[in-house]
Point group: C2
Chain length 213, copies 2
């Protein structure tokens, strides 16, 4: 009788992903199938499938017969995400304005949480709530394809890197979300979209500037 509800593949994938996101595995580190299998007391097969999934998600890259490594996210790639994000979040905001019907309480809560995190000097929490704010808008838009694309950008994993490299006053960062929220409250999707696009593009430019550091 197993206590586990999920498949081994799923469990292993999640553990590996956690390790990658938390930096336990560094970019470039090799992920050797049998070695990992041994650690978890499983056979090679589920580990192999996990790695393939992580490869599809873009966290790992592998070469035939040479194995898998943690993928390094280049500064260029990081910067390239922003124009795409800006464009699809604009679309999301336009659609979200109508569907939210002025109910922006969840967004309000995220801004408040950002301020709390800023007070505590908890950078990680601040990033989480920042991302959550954006995710709420994307999820409110009702377009599944858009949501899937947004998720595929893996913004959680990348934003953290960006923020660390930029130098913005945390409370100011939180307040930058307020005009977007107000536009959504007013049901003005056109405005909300434009503001959100500019907001995201602004950070894209910050990343570009940080490139010389």
């Amino acid at each position: 009788m197993t206590l586990t509800r999920k498949s081994l593949r799923q469990q292993i994938k999640e553990i590996l992903l956690t390790r990658i996101l938390q930096g336990e595995y560094q970019p470039g580190d090799r992920l050797i199938e049998l070695q990992i299998a041994q650690e978890f007391g499983t056979s090679q097969a589920p580990v192999r499938e996990s790695l393939r999934e992580l490869e599809a998600l873009g966290f790992v890259e592998s070469i035939p017969y040479r194995g898998a490594r943690v993928r390094a996210v280049s500064q260029q790639e990081l910067a390239e995400v922003y124009p795409v994000r800006a464009a699809i979040e604009e679309v999301a905001a336009r659609a979200a304005a109508a569907r939210l019907a002025g109910d922006v309480s969840a967004l309000e809560a995220e801004i408040a949480a950002m301020h709390r995190a800023a007070d505590d000097g908890d950078l990680y929490a601040q990033v989480c709530h920042d991302v959550a704010f954006h995710r709420l808008i994307v999820e409110a838009c009702g377009n599944r394809v858009l949501q899937e694309v947004w998720r595929s950008l893996r913004i959680e994993a990348r934003t953290l890197i960006s923020v660390v490299k930029t130098e913005i006053e945390p409370h100011q960062l939180a307040d930058m979300h307020r005009p977007i929220l107000e536009a959504l409250r007013a049901g003005d999707g056109e405005l909300a979209g434009r503001l959100l696009r500019q907001h995201v593009e602004f950070f894209g430019e910050l990343v570009l500037k940080g490139e010389h550091a």
Copy 2:
């Protein structure tokens, strides 16, 4: 000595994908691992991995212990692709205008090919060149992330469905691309982006209208 250069997994994946795209496997059809393995004379493992990849690509969906099926693309999903496509192709066109430096010969060739296909009444070829036109712009933009997202929309697989359901005169369809080309030739990214966005949105609306059919 094997004649095959690629891994079994890769080969099987490609064959299965072809069958799905060509409609040999219909949406909802079950893909049974051992059955496929037997057909190709391999073991279950490479088939299984192929199915997992196709699942990640969105062509197949699977439920634990219940197997994989060819994924059905709903009309809704089809319609939802267009706003996303419109947004990212707009970004692509803006960037492409600068990088093409007025060299639109490849685009010109695709429009010509569309007309030839229209003359031949070859709908499939027409769709291919239509998609190729858009792909050329996306590839010219230089943003790898954007390209990856565009590919993930699997426009080849979906456009075919759309076109079949719409009733546009083929030559007219081809000519609709010309203003975009001219804007790119003139290096006016802003205009090219706007035109391309409208162009894609136009088809999105066609799909919506066809929904009642």
